[in-house]
Symmetry: C2
Subunit: 200 residues, 2 copies
Amino acid sequence: MNTVYGMKASGNCYKLQLLLEQLGQPYRWIETDSTTGETRTPEFLAKNPNGKVPLLELEDGRRLPESNAILCFLAEGSRFLPDDRWQRAQVLQWLFFEQYSHEPYIAVARFIAKWLPADHPRQADLPKLRERGYQALGVMEKQLARTDFLVESGYTIADIALYAYTHEAHVGGFDLDAYPAIRAWLARVEVQPGFVPQSY
Amino acid sequence: MNTVYGMKASGNCYKLQLLLEQLGQPYRWIETDSTTGETRTPEFLAKNPNGKVPLLELEDGRRLPESNAILCFLAEGSRFLPDDRWQRAQVLQWLFFEQYSHEPYIAVARFIAKWLPADHPRQADLPKLRERGYQALGVMEKQLARTDFLVESGYTIADIALYAYTHEAHVGGFDLDAYPAIRAWLARVEVQPGFVPQSY
């Protein structure tokens, strides 16, 4: 059985929970709190030198970090990752978009707004984070106005990866009123077979 | 023939130039300067709504953004992207590491140090960028002390992606003296068949 070192409150970790549930694959979850230093202990750094969760550990001890690389690995051969070379490339471009142009703004705004005290200096970052986050939402809206899911072939790990923080964008102060295609897509993701909500 | 919209000075764009040369695939390069707004024109945004280079355009007009997704697409079926599922997962984890934990620090420090005036307010970001950039270099050093290339199977697009900005880390003020395995790896990359240096 696979083991996931993860933190329930992290969208990056929730991605794996959602995919594993939808694949119907049993797994062990070891809650690992990065906010209290549990990903920076010598023991954890020996498992992942980059000191981050999620981390996948196979039964034979091999380990894989990076949420979106883990999604690709687990989804291989399933309906969540198309075989077609062009469709796969589309999935990958959304996964890289998520990590570079979406997560650093939408996830970080959520973290600051929800977990840091109101007088914390990082609260000053919020306007810039929101500006960039809205740009990312604009790119998604344009795509989702044309196709039901991010990649034309249907629901894939690209949707899982982008659902993870978009469904909590409001926590970081993002207003989705002007993004009807995103709102409809969130609802479509939530009725996929095996869907489980994030709970923490 | 494929077309690349790219900027020679950008490491993200250089990745594609390096892989295409090593694949021996002819391509057309359309120099597109993001620093003068060429990636934000209505014409370019119609091609890539995220307003970034590189962008790959196939002969039939289909387009693919995101440097590392393009690397995967182009390298499919070649020796630069292993077929083995576990080795592929390793390649992908380094590609996501590059975009999330390396490029935002090492490429951005290079940009600020090289292109922004000495009295620009963003110069104040450099100490934090260097701290995070050294963390990323530490993760690479640990791997490269054990294996000749980032993935055990040999030279792959993971090396291309991480070479792109690591070879210019010094421009952003990073000192590689304490990273002998990285320095040896840079030299190994530079003698790969078909290697071309970045020139701009």
